[in-house]
Symmetry: C2
């Protein structure tokens, strides 16, 4: 994971600070194989480099807010983001967490349908939407990849509906930890112990639970020997197979 220079953190009035593009930022991109950019050839990568800018965020910094004109799309290159929707009275539903390689900002309207902000220090690669759409027209491989990313996200969202609508608190937390572990492995990180950078409140708002219930359920899973809480927000899954069975409702 990259480290961040705190001096570069943007003030509140300009939360998503775009750094000047390097000469060929995309050529050296360490997470390219995970992103929508994966299928691009050198020539095409050069072109996409021209329209890419880097954005860095501090914990809590907004990337964009629901309802805002959707001018950019992003690739996460480091850190953790949270994507969420709000009700008028402040109830929050976290739609998902984003890690290195994840794509964000796909909107079918002219405005974002959700808000996104930083959980940890994070870095993203930013593309103006209109210019990327122009590239999509010329690079069918990129469009195919976008469709693939969108259908994958759709499948993930549908799986989460099953979690939210039909699983118990215990099953929800077990599913969450299992999925987080699998995603860490998919991007080449350690899946066990798994890094859990978000707060109990974030997890609750993701799973349709309160912080108290999340905390109690962690405790329950811990005292029953399925997991162990390590320092630095790490969770060791001590009985992976049993945890998976709980997650599946068995």
């Amino acid at each position: 994971m990259a480290s961040f220079d705190v001096d570069k953190i943007a003030p509140a009035t300009e939360p998503a600070r775009a750094l000047a593009g390097e000469h060929e930022p995309c050529q050296g991109c360490t997470v390219r194989h995970l992103t929508v950019c994966a299928p691009l050839a050198d020539e095409e990568l050069h072109e996409i480099s021209q329209i890419a800018q880097t954005v860095e965020l501090s914990p809590g910094d907004p990337l964009f807010d629901e309802g805002e004109p959707a001018r950019h799309v992003f690739n996460v290159t480091a850190g953790t983001l949270r994507v969420y929707k709000l009700l008028a009275d402040g109830r929050r539903q976290v739609i998902g967490f984003l890690f290195a390689g994840d794509f964000v900002g796909l909107a079918n309207n002219e405005t974002y349908a959700y808000s996104a902000d930083a959980v940890t220090h994070a870095a993203l690669c930013r593309f103006p939407r209109t210019r990327l759409e122009n590239l999509l027209g010329r690079y069918p491989k990129l469009q195919t990849r976008m469709l693939s990313v969108a259908s994958h996200e759709l499948a993930v969202a549908q799986e989460q509906m099953l979690v939210l609508g039909r699983k118990t608190a215990k099953e929800k937390i077990a599913t969450f930890l299992h999925t987080l572990s699998r995603r860490a492995e998919a991007r080449g990180q350690n899946g066990n112990p798994v890094h859990v950078p978000m707060s109990r409140t974030d997890i609750g708002d993701y799973l349709g639970l309160t912080t108290e219930t999340v905390s109690r359920t962690f405790t329950q899973l811990r005292t029953r020997g399925y997991i162990a809480l390590r320092s630095g927000g790490k969770v060791e899954i001590t009985a992976p197979e049993s945890l998976r069975e709980i997650a599946e409702g068995l």
Copy 2:
């Protein structure tokens, strides 16, 4: 709404019966403007006609099951379908309901990630996946449309996460009726009274509630004057603005 000849209903062993393609079935398609086929020119429509087949389903007939090889994609031309996922012990989460114009079967794996079956008599237009993907490569407009459909579905799924995770039973039912009404209008049907063809159990499995709670909540909305239950599964929304406010959590 089209009526269906019960004699054409497929037996249990061949639930999704494909009828012989007509000469130019797509030319006369009454819901084309709603579907992924909307942007196609006559020439292209002719070509997609060649690979299209018609499927008719009786209430309860499966279209496909989760885990089955994803050989086809479909456009709904008439009737109502339900799409759902199951847990091992039988708990069911309905992912969505499909009406005329809706697209179904997008899969990023080789298998379907959910099951789909008929709520009412229904008709669909079926395309072999590999042959449609071939067309996608040659008709960028079609691919763009597919991406647009996928991002729209993603936005709908994310909205449903908010419903499942953070709304009360009353808000869920109000949201459900409001959305159903809007969708009916979007395909040129009457949004009020709105046709509600699915059972209380289906609605419960869609909203993360039991049938009893769905029934009680309908009664509550009825006695308080927000809705009236009409014959033939129609619901009249007697106080649309108030219902919308309940749906928004106000």
